[in-house]
């Protein structure tokens, strides 16, 4: 479903600030794959997400979605297949527009936008049903401005907006990091649910090692622009946080360094 081939990207090449953010990354995701991504600060996790989403253009390499080359498609065209939830709860919704208007915009993601009403009676009914699955009571606040919602509610809405039109690829970049623990847990639960329900190919960056182990069927560890460790299936299930730290030390010969890491 998603193929990332030989992706490399260097920032500020030829200057003192030169930085190899991604160094020959190869990655393949099947439909239904849920890959958690961990790695030290500046490992290139967000850069990889940005390359897949089309926000960044790599120096070399290719991105294929459903076997089709998409590397030359601009971000807005690629987002027909790729859904994203950002770390910042403010990033995924339009604050001065209503909940139903936000959902209507998301509903148009994989369709051509037309000069017909974005919110119709039948759509409102459908939005209500989707909102009910969040269990946050948002279905009764369709005409409330999204700016009035809490960070957790906004993030839940963002997640729904990204997934209810069934994208092929779902990219989650620390999408629970800005929330307090109970809200983060709520969003994590919702994530698990939509991912298993929809059977998309998902990449999720997290700084919570235990979460990276608990969620998904595959795990990758990144460092200095490379994927240095991979585990899947039964191997992943057997892993512990200690194993991960140990692996890192064995491969890199140094301690895992991440100021935001949560060991579990």
């Amino acid at each position: 479903m998603l193929d990332v081939k030989n992706i490399s990207i260097v920032f500020n090449e030829g200057t003192v600030d030169e930085k190899t953010a991604l160094n020959n990354i190869n990655l393949s995701l099947e439909k239904g794959d849920f890959v958690t991504v961990i790695g030290s600060n500046g490992a290139g996790k967000s850069t990889l997400m940005n390359v897949i989403a089309g926000q960044l253009y790599p120096d070399v390499g290719d991105v294929l979605i459903n076997g089709k080359q998409v590397i030359h498609l601009p971000e807005y065209r690629r987002s027909q297949f790729v859904g994203r939830v950002f770390q910042d709860p403010m990033a995924g919704t339009a604050p001065s527009m209503t909940i139903e208007e936000n959902l209507a915009m998301a509903y148009s993601r994989n369709k051509k936008r037309k000069l017909t009403f974005g919110v119709t009676k039948s759509r409102r009914k459908m939005f209500k049903e989707y909102l009910q699955t969040l269990n946050l009571g948002l279905e009764d606040r369709l005409t409330a401005k999204v700016g009035m919602l809490s960070g957790g509610e906004r993030q839940a809405l963002s997640l729904l907006m990204t997934t209810f039109t069934d994208p092929d690829i779902l990219l989650l970049d620390e999408h629970t990091a800005a929330l307090d623990p109970s809200r983060a847990e709520l969003i994590t639960g919702l994530t698990k649910k939509v991912v298993t329900d929809a059977g998309l190919a998902t990449l999720m960056v997290t700084h919570n090692m235990q979460q990276a182990l608990d969620l998904g069927n595959r795990l990758i560890m990144m460092d200095k622009g490379q994927i240095i460790f991979e585990a899947s299936g039964i191997d992943k299930q057997r892993l512990t946080v200690e194993d991960l730290l140990h692996e890192f030390q064995r491969i890199r010969g140094e301690q895992f360094e991440d100021d935001r890491v949560v060991l579990g």
């Binding site: 989403a53 971000e75 807005y76 065209r77 690629r78 987002s79 027909q80 859904g83 994203r84 950002f86 403010m90 990033a91 995924g92 919704t93 339009a94 604050p95 001065s96 527009m97 208007e101 209507a104 915009m105 998301a106 148009s108 993601r109 994989n110 936008r113 037309k114 000069l115 017909t116 009403f117 974005g118 919110v119 907006m161």
Partner: protein, 327 residues
């Protein structure tokens, strides 16, 4: 007095179309577009030139709107594809349009006094009985100088309201929602597969189309098009938007656009009132406008902090009272 206020409302309603355009860029797209000073004149110039060359006034007015649409398209292209800062893109287009407008006009001022404008034609169709009826109703209040025709006011009110309703509808369509999201959260709407560049261009083009349409009508109302008639137009548009929002609120789109129209009319009335003082001269209008905008921008904030202060004092007093009662 009544007759000058009547004139203020009459032109205010036409300027409201321009203000709706400014609302589209400044508020909806969050794009401070200064093209307005130029595109207003472009509209006036195109309409005047067309009418002088025998084009039916209604067609000439539509051509004015199209010319503004094209000017706005260029500003939008400059900003999105050329990656020029929004303010600078507008200033560049405004400057370029000055020369273009002069070329269209062929001379600094084109008079329409000998031509039949859209309003003259309207006067022929408009029934005098309606004027007589409305004027006789006013006569009851003892007003002596009465408007020569109500036709312009009523028809233009109708036209402006129709434009407002179309704008309201447009901003609720799938395309319109995406345009609003550009001003609210550009990154998000791009991640929802909207071509933000094209939508921005469309928004700026529509805005300037309205501005130029208004310019074309004002030229016909005043009977001339002048290369300098657009100076400060953007501030007038902003004044209308801000006054309207402050007085009528912005709770919904329909409310906000209505507020803009109200703001444009009230702005004209304020200027007319101000000019009645002998102290003020016509040339002071721009200064008055700037001051109105400054007051309208600052006073809501001052009022808010005052209200907050008052609330806090009251709360404290209530608490002290409580403590006293308990103690």
């Amino acid at each position: 007095m009544f007759i000058s206020m009547f004139g203020a409302v009459e032109s205010g309603i036409i300027y409201a179309i321009m203000a709706l355009g400014v609302y589209l860029t400044f508020r909806v797209l969050d794009f401070p577009d200064l093209t307005v000073d130029g595109s207003f004149v472009t509209g006036a110039a195109v309409a005047a030139l067309a009418i002088i060359n025998g084009v039916p006034p209604i067609i000439a007015t539509i051509l004015a709107g199209i010319a503004g649409f094209l000017a706005g398209t260029l500003t939008g292209l400059l900003h999105t594809k050329g990656k020029v800062n929004a303010l600078l893109a507008g200033i560049l287009m405004m400057t370029a349009l000055y020369s273009i407008n002069l070329r269209i006009l062929g001379q600094p001022t084109l008079s329409l006094h000998t031509e039949a404008t859209i309003f003259d034609q309207l006067g022929n169709v408009w029934g005098a009985p309606i004027d007589n009826m409305l004027n006789s109703m006013l006569g009851i209040f003892g007003l002596e100088r009465l408007p020569s025709t109500w036709g312009i006011l009523i028809v233009m009110l109708l036209v402006t309201v129709i434009i407002k309703l179309i704008t309201d509808y447009f901003l609720k369509t799938e395309v319109g929602l995406a345009i609003r999201a550009i001003g609210d959260n550009k990154r998000m709407i791009r991640s929802l597969s909207a071509n933000t560049d094209n939508l921005t261009i469309l928004g700026v083009a529509l805005s300037n189309g309205l501005v130029a349409l208004s310019g074309g009508l004002i030229a016909q109302l005043g009977g001339f098009a002048d290369v300098g008639m657009g100076i400060g137009m953007i501030v007038i548009g902003l004044a209308s938007v801000i006054i309207g929002e402050a007085l009528f609120g912005t709770k919904t789109i329909a409310r906000a656009t209505l507020a803009v129209i109200g703001g444009a009319v009230i702005y004209r009335m304020i200027v007319t009132l101000a000019l009645r003082f002998d102290f003020f001269e016509t040339g002071d209008m721009k200064l008055i406008t700037a001051i109105i905008v400054i007051i309208a921008l600052i006073s809501p904030k001052i009022l808010k902090t005052q209200r907050e202060k008052k609330r806090r004092i009251e709360k404290r007093r209530a608490l002290e009272q409580e403590i006293k009662e308990v103690g």
